[in-house]
């Protein structure tokens, strides 16, 4: 898998064997990959190391077949042993720096975060992606207070590395999460516990794509922002900056005010809004 192309993932699936009694782990996870899940995590907090290693080997083989990155929750040693693509850490697990030292620069390191403060710390410490959640109360992580979509919105505004919204997300509430600015979704029980994981994954992806199609991700004055604006004029109005005497620069080029209405806004644009302040 090409360096960094993994970052474009949209649907992150995690194993949860207890959600599909009577069905084999590899079969269920294969269904999620058939359905289009584009990153897979093995999470087994109760099994022995031997059991986790066995599952890791099987899922490594499966994810290779579908060319999907494979992450293991904890167990950096197993990551190395089966050549998984990375590790996922919790806040109480080993520090990111320690994981990086064990795994080297190439492996993906993800970490669960429950506040913007933790998110920014993870970013500083060199995490490659973060989990943002639990958005809703979930049985997968009992006892953890839900962070609600307000943290998702904060993350969308301030976090520059990929972030994936997680925790109690179902087809019934995913639109709210997407509306808060998430573009990567992780769902556990709603997918692996469904009678048709492949179909459920396809439904999730349709929702994610639908939300992405309506919005652009642009960088304004140094920070990422989602917008439905199609032109510079609409964008300035959405930001409620249109009553200011300001100058707009788009990707290093000045956009004269007369051209705002006809200047198209594209995803990835870097926009600067500047004005004049007292100075000597």
């Amino acid at each position: 898998m090409g360096k960094d192309t993994w970052k474009d993932f949209r649907l992150y699936v995690i194993t949860a064997e207890s959600n599909h009694p009577g069905k084999a782990l590899v079969d269920v996870m294969e269904q999620t990959l058939i359905g289009g899940a584009d990153i897979l995590q093995l999470r087994n907090k109760t099994g022995s190391r031997e059991e986790v290693l066995g599952q890791a080997k099987a899922l490594r083989e499966l994810t290779r077949k579908y060319n999907v990155p494979f992450i293991i929750n904890d167990y950096p040693d197993i990551v190395l042993e089966v050549d998984a693509d990375g590790v996922h850490l919790g806040q109480e697990d080993l520090p990111i720096a320690e994981a990086r030292r064990l795994l080297g620069p190439e492996k993906i390191i993800g970490i669960s975060t429950h506040s913007l403060q933790q998110a920014l710390a993870a970013e500083r410490d060199g995490a490659d992606y973060i989990g943002v959640g639990p958005v809703f109360p979930t049985d997968t992580k009992p006892g953890r207070a839900a962070v609600t979509t307000s943290y998702v919105a904060e993350a969308a505004r301030h976090v520059t590395i990929p972030f994936v919204a997680i925790g109690g997300i179902t087809l019934g509430n995913v639109d709210t999460v997407l509306a808060s600015g998430a573009r990567r979704i992780c769902s556990v029980s709603a997918i692996v516990g469904s009678s048709d994981p492949a179909a459920t994954c396809r439904s999730f992806l349709e929702r994610i794509e639908g939300a992405s199609a309506g919005t652009l991700l642009v960088n304004v004055n140094g920070r990422e922002q989602l917008t439905s604006a199609r032109t510079i004029e609409e964008f300035v109005k959405q930001l409620e900056q249109h009553n200011k005497k300001l100058v707009v620069e788009r990707n290093g080029e000045l956009v004269p005010r007369a051209l705002w209405a006809e200047t198209e806004l594209l995803s990835g644009d870097a926009i600067e809004l500047v004005h004049f302040v007292g100075g000597g």
């Binding site: 009553n243 200011k244 005497k245 000045l254 004049f276 302040v277």
Partner: protein
């Protein structure tokens, strides 16, 4: 005499200015005080900085809204730039805003002293003059550099008296005098001026104008101080034109001794 002084105006890039005071707009306690101080200063050129807007606020906090009624020449600065290309970008932004084509090149090479980076300043001056800007570079008090800036197309040179905001006055009057003597473009003393006394001193050295901000804005009474600067700059200019007396080591009486009622005192053992 008053009439000939009136005709002694400062001309920058062909533009005749009635005041030799270039007015910095930063750090005033309020917009109202800023406007009154500007009025009291008599200045016709104002400086300001280019910054990102505050996206959290919808209110227009641009400094320019306070000057819409006035006939002023705008001199935006490139503060915040530490390279020539950053300064060029800021200059283009300011011009695109329709504020005219004057630009104060200000490229800081050190965040503690804010001293100008001479190499980048020269580069930016050359580039911007080539793009048709009226370039007024804030520069070190170095006569050679000032000459090179002039050759690169600067419309005026603006050597600092001392680092920005320090109020230390003229640290190297000798160099400033040399710069004033050699320059074929106006010399504006920019930065480090502490009080009207420094401004008058600079004008007496032959400077053509003064750019000041902090000593006015942070004075106890900025409006009164603005007027004090106006008078000091005029006084200094007049003194320069009038020609001061040479300095001498010993006294020379204002009246001849001839006809004095007494003999001169002879204390202290000094015999000329």
């Amino acid at each position: 005499m008053a009439e000939s002084y009136q005709q002694d105006s400062l001309v920058i890039a062909g533009q005749r200015l009635g005041s030799r005071f270039l007015f910095g707009t930063g750090r005033f306690p309020s917009p109202a005080v800023l406007q009154q101080a500007l009025e009291a200063s008599g200045a016709e050129v104002i400086t300001f900085a280019v910054r990102r807007v505050n996206l959290e606020s919808t209110e227009d906090d641009s400094v320019l809204q306070h000057f819409e009624e006035r006939q002023l020449t705008y001199l935006p600065n490139t503060s915040g730039a530490s390279t020539a290309s950053e300064a060029v970008r800021i200059a283009r932004l300011a011009r695109a805003a329709g504020l005219g084509n004057w630009i104060k090149v200000e490229i800081s090479g050190n965040s503690r002293t804010l001293l100008p980076d001479p190499i980048e300043t020269l580069r930016a001056t050359e580039q911007l003059a080539g793009e048709g800007f009226v370039v007024l570079p804030y520069t070190s008090d170095d006569p050679i550099l000032c000459r090179k800036l002039e050759e690169a197309g600067a419309s005026a040179v603006m050597p600092g008296g001392s680092p920005i905001g320090t109020g230390l006055g003229l640290l190297n009057p000798y160099n400033l005098g040399l710069i004033a003597e050699q320059a074929k473009v106006p010399v504006i003393i920019d930065a480090g001026i502490g009080s009207p006394k420094d401004a008058a001193e600079a004008m007496e050295l032959g400077a053509d104008g003064i750019l000041a901000n902090t000593p006015v804005a942070k004075a106890q009474d900025p409006v009164m101080m603005a007027r004090a600067f106006r008078l000091a700059i005029e006084a200094g200019r007049l003194a320069y034109l009038a020609g001061r007396i040479p300095k001498k080591k010993y006294a020379s009486a204002s009246s001849d001794w001839a006809g004095s009622l007494y003999e001169p005192a002879d204390g202290g053992g000094l015999k000329i």
